[in-house]
Assembly symmetry: C2
């Protein structure tokens, strides 16, 4: 049975939400959970849900704050829920780690403790972007601020393998985020990456796309460097938030609007749900020699549940083995 | 009186919209307009609005398509409305050019025909992003796919001067778009640019911001390379469009929602208006030895009107002279 370490202390909504999500996940799928965090806080929360033979508490006396510098966390907080949660894999006690905590710290601990998969130059953080057709996996969204073409090629391969073995996508379509859709457009990095992607048969490369096309869902995987990916992810999230707030504001602002609000509420919720980056739970740090799933800090129980199921899919789909094998075949 | 050449053939909504915007602009501000485009199309449209002594038609027998490659346009369409519109400045017949046409072609013709302002290494395209506090000017959003730190410094200076002399902003606050807000975070480019911006007294540098903070309006000017700027601009626009469509869809989807729709319509329109990148009309190509304002292809008459007024502000505020002077003072 897959053994997943869960960071009970991560996320803006506190341990209750994490544990609620975990219990929900366990009710529809079999896996073993190691709940990492402050024992005194977690145990009573778990007890509320009755006893569960597949759940075990692992005490962690430290917590990494959501704004703490990752470097400092790594130096001073080895016994945090993130530090221990990641380490459980190294100790052979867990197959994966899931956290809605400090993204930088999860990356730093994962890299330091688990290292890279053989053949991977740079691990990448993936994120699911909702599209008109479903979703696209965008990577890197923040692990690498400067990239080389070879890194982008590896991102393309890792993203494709992930979708193949956990979402049953056959030969996922890969697009390169660029400036201009023509082959000859872009910056130095994307021009070089374009050629590399095009000449690599293992990748189902469909060409360049501009930022405006991401939401059209023209590709299953969208590749970019971490700086650009981070900028569009964060800017995009802020727009969605802004729109949600503006809708609320509009609804509260006048009598006419207020009257309509009740009637439109269900439509709103559907809309915001569709745009929400929580929908797909977490996304993996691809390329590390282990499994770390990163959830949004604002994750609700439903997102945690999805992330836990995705994590089991990842482990059971043996994604890392496939990455290792296929990278060996790449001649670069 | 300021003489503005207007591209009647640019924009997705056709010459009628451009001319409607022009007439509207002329009704509240004095300037001379040279309307460039197909005479046979334009003259009857102008006549509908009665005679106007400040309007003159300049015939152009070619039109640059919205998806035409800029390089090809420059080679084969010197007598297009964009080609001629830009050239009127070189011939001393106009002080500025406004177009909602092919952005790449406007840039290419402007650079080729007018050249750069003395001291400017790379001209940049600016765009107004709506924020919670009003707007921020973001640049570059597409002229330069690869930048050096010095380019970003010049963008910061040009953006500041533009806002100072046309929007009466005293010492506009400048932020650098980066990954992480700490001084030590970012990619090679932003790390170098950060140091340069910090040590340049002429710029009111407030530090790094992440993509998530742009809409908060934390700075008047936000600096980035053209690749990143292009990606966030286009991705952002597509989200706004997506949300607008989804709202429409929701409204049309069910009886309950339909009932509320009429009541909420005014709120929706306010919301979409606030998020619309048309609100501020056009934005200048900063750093060329002339004045070219680029409007969104989807501009309505109101946006064309705003753009024409902004163009007059730019000319009358002698922005280019100030850029030239202040660049001379920069010791880099």
């Amino acid at each position: 049975m897959t053994r997943v370490a869960v960071d009970a202390m991560g996320g803006d909504r506190g341990p209750e939400t994490i544990i609620e999500g975990l219990m929900d996940a366990l009710s529809s799928r079999e896996f073993e959970a190691l709940v990492v965090g402050d024992g005194k806080t977690i145990t009573p929360l778990l007890n509320r849900h009755g006893s569960h033979s597949d759940v075990q508490v692992v005490h962690a006396q430290q917590v990494v704050g959501s704004h703490e510098a990752p470097g400092q966390a790594v130096r001073k907080k080895a016994d945090s829920s993130i530090g221990i949660g990641v380490r459980l894999q190294k100790e052979g006690r867990a197959d994966a780690f899931v956290s809605a905590g400090n993204t930088g710290a999860i990356m730093a601990f994962s890299l330091l403790t688990l290292g890279r998969l053989k053949g991977v130059n740079r691990p990448a953080v993936a994120a699911f972007f909702p599209t008109k057709k479903g979703f696209s996996l965008v990577l890197d969204v923040g692990a690498n601020s400067d990239c080389k073409a070879l890194n982008l090629l590896q991102f393309a391969l890792m993203g494709s393998i992930y979708l193949s073995y956990t979402f049953d996508k056959e030969r996922p379509e890969v697009a390169l985020l660029s400036m201009g859709e023509e082959d000859t457009k872009g910056n130095d990095l994307t021009l070089a990456a374009h050629d590399l992607l095009k000449s690599t048969e293992m990748i189902n490369f469909v060409g360049n796309i501009e930022g405006s096309r991401i939401l059209d869902g023209v590709a299953d995987v969208v590749i970019c460097d971490g700086f650009v990916g981070n900028a569009i992810l964060k800017f995009g999230e802020s727009i969605v938030e802004y729109v949600s707030e503006a809708i609320k504001e509009s609804v509260n602002s006048g009598l006419k609007a207020k009257l309509g609000a009740l009637m439109l509420r269900s439509s709103f919720q559907k809309l915001v749900g569709r745009m929400s980056y929580e929908e797909y739970g977490g996304a993996p740090l691809l390329g590390i020699d282990g499994v770390s799933f990163i959830c949004h800090g604002k994750s609700r129980a439903k997102a945690i549940r999805s992330a836990l199921h995705s994590t089991c899919d990842y482990v059971e789909g043996r994604v890392n083995e496939h990455i290792r094998e296929q990278l060996r075949e790449l001649s670069y």
